[in-house]
């Protein structure tokens, strides 16, 4: 006997967990998930638009003290504020969004797929044709590279800062990289005790540049300690006569590296609100056509990276560590070999005792940087979608064979391919049960062959197969232009209502495979919309 309604039983990790998280979150930190928009229509990137928010919500719900505002609610707030979905917002826009949603944090992102085509002259162009080797290329040499990356923007309304992180990966891997990256960087930032992220650590035997606000005596003590531990100290910083004071070190709080950027978002100028944070090829090209303010801000970020690269060359250093000894003790650590920010601590909690001194504060910070951090893995994220005590009480989703209405034997393979593709896409995103195969085979024909299933048929199917949802579809050929039309629909068997539909018209060639994928994605999107809207 089932105790809950089918929606609750459909245990999409996030949806269910979010529901459970809310009651625990009376005085909770609140984070709103915004849209993750893609700058490309390419399926690889487009798919991430709806999968990343889901996976990210799974990550966030690891921590039951967090109250998570779902993308749909954020979208509504943006609409009410008349803000278009954007890759970034100005400071006042971010504030308005947070106030509207009554949240401390707002996270959103962008996916970018850049195709770069480079044309080089043919090396044989001046060689007489009869002298060219048989395999000599014809015409200019064209090379095509694809850059795929995601940029996550994390706005902290209390501090008024935006932390951006860029993750780069190849097609399918990008999702994993992005989710793990977000888990490791953003989740600790939400914890008010730590306010930190750390993805790597300083290995013994490496050479570091240490910039701090310590006086010379304290600097010596810290350096002696590090040298004794087996680290090398580059002869930079803290060797000058007055050194840097805390105010000066504070200016280094905001930094730009190749993978991360932390700063205050731009004020209300539209142009500034959209300046590119990371130097991509297209961003550089676009700047040529925009105003010089954009250019200045963008180049500032590039300059920082270039200057740090020079520092690496001069001192042959592996790491740059910036640490403030005055409270709150903050840390920035950059791997100078990769030019990536790998550790950020906004405020290190130091135990107050008689021995607590500026030296011990800095050494505490350095100790964190030299210890291997515990990283959150995708496996952990997967576990987060499981609720203890739920047992097998998952939604049972029946994906039926698609009805072949082409009247030829050429496309019979699509019947099974379409249902397999949908099942496979759903498994990547949701947890669900599959009804017994024998029961399905025995009882599904009526639904497969019907154009629009009646409530009676659906109810009967539910009883026969013990399913909660069913996905049915068919495909046919248009005789006039030989185009294939694929349609699918998902029904909630407890209400008999249609939840979502998918359709695709495609030429009967290589595009057919893309169309199959597209239908699968549309179905998953429909389920996701249903899950996140709570209807």
């Amino acid at each position: 006997m089932r105790k809950q309604s089918s929606y609750f039983r459909l245990r999409f990790g996030i949806w269910t967990l979010a529901l459970f998280a809310v009651p625990c979150a009376v005085n909770a930190t609140t984070i709103a998930i915004g849209s993750f928009i893609s700058s490309s229509d390419h399926p690889d990137v487009k798919e991430l638009e709806f999968r990343v928010p889901i996976e990210f919500m799974k990550v966030l719900t690891i921590d039951n003290s967090l109250k998570v505002i779902q993308p749909q609610e954020s979208k509504t707030a943006l609409n009410e504020l008349n803000f278009a979905e954007s890759s970034t917002f100005s400071k006042s826009q971010y504030s308005a969004i947070c106030e509207k949603l009554n949240t401390n944090y707002f996270v959103h992102g962008t996916f970018v797929r850049e195709v770069n085509i480079q044309e080089r002259p043919n090396p044989y162009q001046n060689v007489p044709e009869e002298l060219r080797p048989a395999n000599a290329p014809v015409g200019p040499i064209i090379t095509k590279t694809v850059d795929l990356y995601s940029i996550i923007q994390f706005y902290d309304n209390k501090k008024g800062t935006v932390f951006s992180a860029r993750y780069t990966g190849e097609n399918k891997k990008l999702l994993t990289i992005t989710i793990e990256g977000m888990a490791n960087s953003l989740l600790p930032l939400l914890n008010s005790d730590k306010q930190s992220f750390q993805t790597d650590f300083i290995k013994k035997g490496s050479r570091l540049i240490l910039i701090s606000d310590l006086d010379n005596a304290a600097t010596n003590s810290v350096m002696i300690n590090m040298l004794q531990q087996g680290f090398f100290i580059a002869a930079a910083s803290n060797l000058e006569f007055t050194g840097l004071d805390n105010n000066e070190v504070q200016t280094l709080r905001h930094i730009a590296t190749l993978n991360s950027f932390i700063d205050e978002p731009s004020p209300d100028l539209d142009q500034l609100g959209k300046y590119p944070l990371f130097p991509t090829r297209s961003a550089i090209l676009n700047l040529k056509n925009k105003n010089r303010i954009l250019d200045i801000v963008f180049k500032n970020n590039q300059n920082q990276v270039a200057t740090l690269q020079k520092m690496k060359e001069r001192y042959q250093a592996d790491y740059l560590v910036i640490v403030s000894s005055e409270k709150p003790v903050f840390v920035r650590a950059i791997d100078l070999n990769s030019m990536n920010l790998f550790a950020l601590y906004e405020s290190i909690k130091i135990t107050e005792d008689a021995e607590s001194s500026e030296v011990s504060r800095v050494l505490s910070a350095l100790k964190l940087l030299t210890e291997k951090p515990e990283l959150i893995t995708v496996k952990d994220i997967g576990k987060a979608s499981r609720l203890p005590g739920q047992g097998d009480d998952l939604a049972a989703v029946a994906v039926l064979l698609f009805d072949d209405r082409t009247n030829t034997a050429n496309y019979q393979w699509m019947s099974n391919s379409l249902s397999s593709a949908i099942t496979s896409s759903m498994k990547k995103v949701f947890e669900f049960n599959t009804p017994d195969a024998a029961l399905l085979a025995e009882n599904s024909m009526q639904l497969i062959k019907t154009e629009v299933p009646s409530p009676v048929d659906l109810s009967k199917f539910k009883t026969q197969t013990n399913s909660d949802f069913v996905i049915v579809g068919n495909y046919r050929l248009q005789s006039e232009d030989n185009q294939m039309i694929i349609t699918a629909a998902i029904y909630d068997l407890s209400t008999g209502r249609i939840i979502g539909e998918a359709s695709e018209i495609t030429s009967v060639d290589g595009e057919l495979f893309n169309a199959v994928d597209s239908v699968a994605r549309q179905i998953v999107q429909a389920i996701y919309r249903m899950a996140t809207s709570g209807t």
Binding site: A217, S221, M223, A235, T251, S266, I296, N303, Y315
Partner: protein, 201 residues
């Protein structure tokens, strides 16, 4: 060319003052030190020390007596660090008024952004310039080691020394020494010499 030499001179001089500088808010404590490799007698070393000429002479003499070939690189300084290499002066930098003429608000924001960045870049570039100056010293004085000694506060109970290996740009020696009532310039420098020549004070 002449300008270049002047600039180098300024930078070198700046560095001398930079390293051999005053110690503010110094703290007393136990003696502690680290040394990675010892420097045998007859090694060429450049010594940077801030202070009056008689103090400098006394320090140089002790090192020469110990057999080190002392490079006379801060024997005669006319410039002060504040004249040539003061980070804080850059806070007054005003190069932004024409940064963005499109409109005043935009100009102000661009100026703010640019100013922050210039100052930040300067802090980083300062380290880069310092590395260049250290390499110039290495070539000019034909030495692979620079020793920084701070004795300005020694009568108040505190001295320190640092050693830089110029070919690797590594810090190979650091020494904090709380000076006692019985200490003199000779005993303090003697302690540094003993540490760098034997590995322990």
């Amino acid at each position: 060319m002449q300008n270049m030499n002047k600039k180098n001179l300024l930078l070198s001089t700046a560095l001398v003052f930079l390293f051999a500088s005053q110690l503010i808010n110094c703290r007393t404590g136990d003696e502690n030190f680290y040394i990675r490799n010892v420097l045998p007698a007859n090694t060429s070393i450049a010594i940077l020390i801030e202070g009056e000429n008689d103090l400098k002479n006394a320090v140089f003499t002790e090192f020469m007596k110990a057999g080190y070939r002392v490079k006379a690189m801060n024997a005669n300084d006319f410039y002060t660090i504040a004249d040539v290499f003061e980070i804080k002066d850059f806070k007054k930098t005003n190069v932004l008024s024409n940064a963005a003429k499109e409109d005043s608000e935009a100009a102000a924001i661009a100026a703010d952004k640019m100013y922050d960045n210039i100052y930040k870049l300067h802090l980083y570039n300062f380290e880069n310039e310092k590395a260049d100056v250290l390499q110039q010293i290495r070539l000019k004085y034909k030495t692979d080691y620079i020793l920084l000694i701070q004795m300005k506060e020694w009568q108040e109970g505190y001295s320190w020394a640092r050693g830089i290996q110029l070919d690797t740009m590594d810090l190979f020696y650091v020494h904090n020494y709380p000076t006692g009532r019985s200490d003199t310039v000779q005993t303090i420098v003697g302690r540094v010499i003993k540490t760098i020549s034997t590995g322990s004070p």
